[in-house]
Symmetry: C2
Subunit: 229 residues, 2 copies
DNA sequence: ATATAGTGTGTAATTTTTACACTAAGTAAT
DNA sequence: ATTACTTAGTGTAAAAATTACACACTATAT
């Protein structure tokens, strides 16, 4: 590391683990740094918390700046603050995760002053990450694995209208194991948070599946009760 | 609030929700503040994170300073950082919880420069709390309710050797509902993390119950598998 | 000896979970 | 139009887990 770098005493930042799903793979958004320290390394997108922002607001702003997206389900999950985690001083960072569907019409457009490029990388082959970002990512993945069993976050990775097979696919990717088709359908429909639409999948070269939508109203009613997958 | 108070730009603190159990009630440790702001109010014990401390180390130090206790299961659970939460400036605070058994030989001895007194208060009748401490406490209680179902944290509230009835009592208090005695015993013993001792309860004026101990080794083996209560 | 208070135990009914395989429907190619 | 292909969509029986429920036992105190 360089020695001429500025030194800051105590800074508070937010780093985001943005999980994206393109219909096939689970990916996360990384940026290639263009500045020291860790110039040319891949890193999680993150930024400094503004002086008059609440934490959630700040996370939302950062997500917006990095992707142009807003209104995404996003949650704080852990604070990382080892004294040595940033070579320029004490930076305590709050980790947030978000789940995003990729592809389709409006492509995600990341822009960030200190990044050479941004890229959605499959979690199966991540590069070495700057700072302690590997640790932050690991804990984030662990978190959503746990959470997808109890809360309806899988829907965030899918388009508004989706098939049951697509939904099952998301669960299998996040949990890292195969699920039985019939049992999956039995269970997921028994929660009563899916609304069956009068529409079929389009553009496939085989029998088109029925489309469903997540029913927020019904879910709100369930609240308090735990969904267990 | 006063105007002559010093202003600090950006500070990082830790606040602890220390849950204590005396065999009857669930309590939390509060201090009565002796300084502005919120002079004479009750508040959660907390402190500033030191410059060279990791967060967990800092939490452990703070717990030690406030109670004389060490080696307690303790966990970070949320960061609170609304811009207006502290009248003197931007203070972002990390909340930790700990579970402690009260009473017995070595009494917990809280000491703290800015407190008039410290007191274990039953959660059923808490006073108004300073800052956003009510919010911090609420989220902490919610957290342990959820966690006690999946992880062996109930044992931390009990002496090393305990009876099944005492254990059931803890679950009932935290979950806020009655449990069936036989079903509780069936389930809790089926996890295989309790070691039955060749000892009986002493000093009761009725049939003495068998004592048990939490078996950390067996629990470590289970790890990964979820305990679900 | 008797009253008292909490300990410790089993079973049947119900619900939930698991394992498992074939027909139906639509598309594409010939 | 026939055929080949690919995924959609569906039920049941066995096993496991959960629930509801009541009484005899034991130690102590009087």
């Amino acid at each position: 590391m360089e020695q001429i770098l500025p030194h800051f005493d105590s800074v508070f930042s937010i780093d985001c683990v943005l999980f994206g799903f393109d219909g096939k793979e689970l990916k996360i958004l990384l940026i290639e740094r263009n500045e020291e320290p860790f110039k040319d390394w891949w890193a999680l997108p993150g930024n400094i918390v503004g002086h008059n922002e609440s934490l959630d607001q700040s996370a939302e702003r950062i997500l917006y700046e990095l992707t142009g997206l807003s209104g995404i389900y996003m949650e704080q999950y852990y604070a990382f603050g080892d004294p040595g985690r940033h070579p320029q001083g004490r930076v305590i960072t709050l980790a947030y995760y978000a789940l995003i569907r990729l592809g389709g019409e409006k492509e995600v457009v990341p822009r960030s002053s200190y990044a050479k490029q941004a890229n959605w990388m499959p979690i199966s082959k991540l590069p070495k990450l700057a700072f302690d970002h590997q640790k932050i990512y690991d804990k984030g993945l662990e978190k959503i694995k746990r959470r997808i069993k109890h809360q309806p976050i899988a829907f965030e990775l899918l388009p508004e209208k989706f098939t049951l097979t697509q939904l099952q696919h998301v669960y299998e990717l996040v949990l890292g194991k195969k699920l039985d088709k019939r049992n999956f359908r039995k269970k997921i429909t028994s929660f009563g948070v899916l609304k069956e639409l009068n529409e079929k999948q389009k553009g496939v070269s085989y029998r088109a599946a029925t489309l469903y939508r997540f029913d927020k109203r019904k879910y709100a009613k369930l609240f308090g009760k735990e969904i267990a997958f």
